[in-house]
């Protein structure tokens, strides 16, 4: 019993482990020059150096702060408009087609404009991230509210629910699964936007760190930066999974089978 669950937990790590071993072996045997792709051990030592100097924490801190600020701003605006347009037909007719139009603009195309507007410091990055995460959260909140089973709403009315009570007991909980899907998408877009924005123009952050490393041909630090992005992305994903398990305990898909 214990053995099978142990094996099941390890299985997802098998492929990454093999890749790591193969990577180390090819680098060690000199198949790939360190300038192209440094060995994992070299990346590790670069990481240790940056940890010791404390530089890495500063960059991660700056990047995370930008990401979270953008998510908070764009996410809450998207959430509010999603609710508004999902609940009110007038607001829906007034705003939805505009949002759908703007949605089709690739938000990374705004980078030059952003630099002109906000310069290269925090404002432009937060704006871009906020702009990027707005749409997935807006759309999923909107659809979540609109697709609530009308039978449940009717039942609620029979039982005397209306206004805020109807929202709290029926509309909002019904929309939560869809909203969380939106959050998950938004987190992906959040990191992507930040990576691009920091790489193009920044004076701190992980993107800045890798771009500086490129100028000095420090491939190990570039690879380290990529790995940090991957880890942060995974962390974001795991935290939404945690939220899903907490908030969707009622959902058959999230119930642990006894």
């Amino acid at each position: 019993m214990f053995k099978t669950s142990y094996r099941r937990d390890l299985l997802p790590w098998l492929v990454p482990g093999c890749i790591l071993v193969a990577w180390q072996a090819t680098a060690q045997l000199g198949f790939i020059p360190a300038r192209i792709l440094p060995a994992p051990t070299q990346v590790l030592s670069a990481a240790l150096k940056l940890v010791r100097s404390g530089e890495i924490f500063r960059h991660i801190g700056v990047s995370s702060l930008r990401a979270l600020a953008g998510l908070l701003v764009g996410g809450s605006i998207g959430f509010v408009f999603g609710l508004l347009n999902g609940l009110s037909r007038t607001s829906d007719r007034l705003l939805n087609s505009t949002f759908q139009m703007v949605r089709n603009v690739p938000h990374l195309a705004l980078i030059p404009l952003c630099i002109l507007w906000f310069g290269i410091d925090e404002g432009s990055k937060v704006f871009l991230v906020a702009f990027g995460v707005f749409f997935p959260i807006y759309l999923n909140t909107y659809h979540g509210i609109q697709n609530v089973d009308p039978g449940l709403i009717e039942m609620g009315r029979v039982y005397g629910l209306s206004g805020y009570q109807l929202f709290r007991d029926i509309l909002f909980p019904a929309a939560v699964p869809s909203i969380l899907v939106g959050v998950r998408y938004a987190l992906g877009i959040m990191w992507l936007t930040l990576i691009v924005a920091e790489t193009v123009s920044a004076s701190s952050g992980i993107g800045y760190m890798t771009m500086t490393a490129r100028e000095f041909l420090q491939t190990d630090i570039i690879v380290l930066g990529i790995l940090i992005y991957a880890l942060l992305g995974k962390l974001a994903d795991v935290s939404t999974l945690f939220l899903e398990q907490r908030w969707l305990a009622w959902h058959p898909a999230f119930q642990k089978t006894a």
Partner: protein, 256 residues
């Protein structure tokens, strides 16, 4: 048999206060240019168990929705205890074909939906009435179809309504669960004496449960048949079978 019936009716009369009287006069309802109900007249007595049968699309569900106040009649009057249905909204409860439980609330919270004040004890006793008090803290998704409908019944009865409208609530259940549910509904009705209106296409079910059976046909009431047999009614009673055959014949004739 007749003395038993008389006793039951006397009982019915004494408890009549628990149920509301429903009066429909000249009720019409159209969907677009298609008339579903036309000048329909019907009086449901306080505490009576009325079944409405008819072919699909004969407007029986529409009629129920009008009484519940979920839809508005185009013309005519619907009165519950002499007042418009909207004024009695809290006295009228509906059981739908699907249970319509909120999947994100535990069973007990589902029963207590819309209730104010100290409702937990009442909700628990309503659950006990349908035999599900042990499942109070579970999610609805783990219950079977029949159990979900029992929770829906407990939810409807928790506030001791004067009217219970049943819109084919047993239609989606398997035959055995269905018989159990019929017995359960009859038992709580005998105890609480609300006015019950059951929409069904199952004539056997109507004959088993109802004091009177209304056949809805061609937008109006085409037949009203009293069933005065003692409860609980045994399966395969020949006299009930005769009533059943009579109503079925009527429904089949309606086609020609």
């Amino acid at each position: 048999m007749s003395s038993q019936t008389a006793a039951l009716r006397a009982h019915n009369y004494i408890d009549a206060a628990a149920g509301a009287e429903i009066q429909l006069s000249n009720v019409s309802k159209n969907f677009g240019s298609h008339a579903v109900l036309k000048d329909l007249n019907l009086v449901v007595r306080p505490g009576e168990f009325l079944a409405i049968v008819g072919r699909s699309g004969c407007g029986k569900s529409t009629l129920l929705r009008l009484i519940a106040g979920l839809d508005q009649a185009d013309s005519g009057d619907i009165k519950v205890n002499g007042q418009p249905a909207q004024k009695n909204a809290q006295q009228i409860r509906v059981m739908f074909q699907d249970a319509r439980l909120l999947p994100w609330k535990r069973v007990l919270q589902n029963v207590g939906i819309g209730a104010r004040g100290d409702w937990q004890a009442k909700a628990l006793s309503a659950l006990a009435d349908v035999g599900l008090n042990a499942r109070a803290n579970e999610w609805p998704s783990v219950l079977s179809g029949g159990q979900k409908q029992r929770v829906a019944l407990a939810r409807a009865l928790m506030s001791h309504p004067q009217v219970l409208l049943l819109d084919e609530p047993l239609g989606a259940l398997d035959a055995l669960t269905r018989l159990e549910m019929q017995k359960l509904i009859e038992r709580v009705w005998l105890r609480q004496r609300f006015t019950a209106i059951l929409i069904t296409h199952d004539v056997t079910e109507a004959v088993t449960l109802a004091d009177r059976i209304v056949v809805l046909e061609d937008r109006v009431v085409s037949l009203i048949r009293s069933v005065e047999h003692a409860r609980p009614r045994a399966l395969g009673n020949p006299e009930l079978g005769k009533i059943e055959a009579q109503i079925l014949e009527r429904l089949l004739d309606a086609k020609g």
